[in-house]
């Protein structure tokens, strides 16, 4: 069974107010056609989980510029002055996390774990409101799972069953976010028939992917 749909069809699953996971690192590894479609349809009030602020008008920066983001869960905003300003003006709520904590929280959700203990953030502003645990003389923060309603992935190649491979540093958050959303839509640059991705090279097995769209 093919999971391929048009971007238009895929858009019907994205609604106002949803929590959306977007992979990427300064815009690399972020789906383009899907973000464009969200901007066109003006799906708003979104909570977006994304590593950084990318750049003004690029990747997540496009959603910010379109005014569709209500809250961001992120690790870094400094590269996008528009986002920094929106946060300072109180237009976007920001939850700032260490990058390793962000990825482990997402992974915990995808892996069915109740949380993880990390030494990162102990004794810093990240500690606020979190459970601190001492184990064997070391101090850790209990970090809880982070799920989304929907994850929008970007893959260099994918087959019709959703088996995905990524290219170079565009892999980043894609494989982990694929595990932790109720619905997973993958935008693939190169769409191939099932079986045309070598089983040994698949990074995200198709069982995680609900919908495949061809990138533009």
């Amino acid at each position: 069974m093919s999971k391929v749909k048009t971007v238009q069809e895929a858009m019907e699953f994205i609604q106002d107010g949803m929590t959306v996971m977007l992979p990427g690192f300064l815009g690399v590894g972020t789906p383009k056609a899907l973000i464009d479609a969200i901007c066109e349809r003006r799906v708003g009030d979104l909570t977006v989980i994304y590593n950084d602020g990318a750049f003004p008008g690029v990747g997540i920066g496009k959603l910010v510029r379109c005014g569709l983001v209500r809250k961001m869960i992120s690790t870094h905003t400094g590269t996008n002055p528009e986002l920094v300003k929106a946060v300072a003006d109180g237009k976007i709520e920001m939850e700032l996390l260490p990058q390793g904590t962000l990825v482990e929280r997402i992974r915990a959700a995808g892996a069915g774990l109740g949380g993880i203990l990390t030494p990162t953030g102990v004794g810093t502003s990240v500690e606020e409101g979190k459970t601190v645990m001492e184990l064997d003389g070391n101090t850790y923060l209990l970090e809880l799972p982070l799920r989304a309603d929907i994850a929008l992935l970007y893959a260099f190649k994918g087959d019709t069953a959703g088996n995905l491979v990524y290219r170079r540093t565009a892999r980043n958050f894609n494989p982990i976010m694929a595990t932790a959303a109720d619905l997973v839509i993958a935008e693939v640059e190169n769409l191939v028939d099932i079986g045309e991705v070598e089983p040994e090279h698949v990074v995200t097995p198709g069982i995680f992917v609900d919908i495949v769209v061809k990138g533009v």
């Binding site: 892996a111 069915g112 087959d159 088996n163 089983p199 097995p205």
Partner: protein, 221 residues
């Protein structure tokens, strides 16, 4: 079609009827493995194997074994198109993270709470836990596929497990060579009997209390 005559095949056949189009399924060692014999390719079922892949196909024919391609029972198997390999960490993200629709596994005992025991016989060592606890905890639907009674004739469906339980989770269905039983919060409900088996015979071979509704059916093709 005529139903399979061997007890194990009957169980596997009946379990197969529970699977829906496109589902991701993990089959335990033994009788559960036979379930794949009763699944048509049109069902588009994907089999996951906890030793590290999805897209498991039939057993490999003798002489056609593919190096380093075995199932969780150590048997040589084949792949279907769309298969993917991964490591154990990813395998248990899939298993514990709720990404498997149905787990079919054997049991030593199932009790009135719907709990199963399948990993340890005190004083006899092995076999061990393996992936069983994670599968029972993490899978959306858990089906127990087992013969109705032990080899010594004693019941396996009991008021309360005497062996250590695998998880505090009510399984979704019990399929045996005598009956189909659905655990509920009210207790174990008898849903179907095997062809030629009466409700009284099931009750006689079951030490757990069974709720017997008016509409108990018979396994039919």
């Amino acid at each position: 079609m005529t139903l399979p005559s061997s007890p194990k095949d009957l169980i596997a056949w009946r379990v197969a009827k529970e699977l829906n189009y496109g589902e991701i399924v993990n089959l335990g060692i033994g009788t559960p493995t036979l379930v794949s014999n009763y699944i048509s390719p049109e069902m588009n079922i994907t089999f996951q194997s906890e030793n590290g892949f999805v897209g498991m196909g039939a057993l490999a024919k003798p002489g056609e074994e593919i190096p380093d391609l075995t199932n969780a029972g150590g048997q040589w198997v084949t792949l279907v198109p769309g298969a993917a390999f991964f490591d154990t960490a990813m395998s248990f993200i899939i298993i514990r993270g709720g990404h498997i629709d149905v787990t079919v596994l054997g049991a030593l005992e199932v009790d009135e709470r719907g709990y199963l025991a399948n990993y340890w016989i005190p004083g006899r060592g092995g076999p061990g836990i393996g992936g069983g606890m994670d599968l029972v905890v993490g899978t959306k639907r858990v089906i127990v596929a087992m013969e109705h009674i032990r080899r010594d004739g004693e019941p396996k469906i009991v008021p309360r497990c005497s062996l250590p339980i695998t998880a505090k989770r009510m399984v979704d269905l019990i399929v045996t060579d005598m009956a189909v039983i659905r655990p509920t919060t009210e207790g174990l409900v008898l849903r179907e009997v095997a062809p030629g088996v009466t409700v009284d015979e099931v009750l006689a071979k079951t030490s757990a209390c069974l709720i017997v509704p008016d509409d108990v059916g018979e396994m039919v093709a």
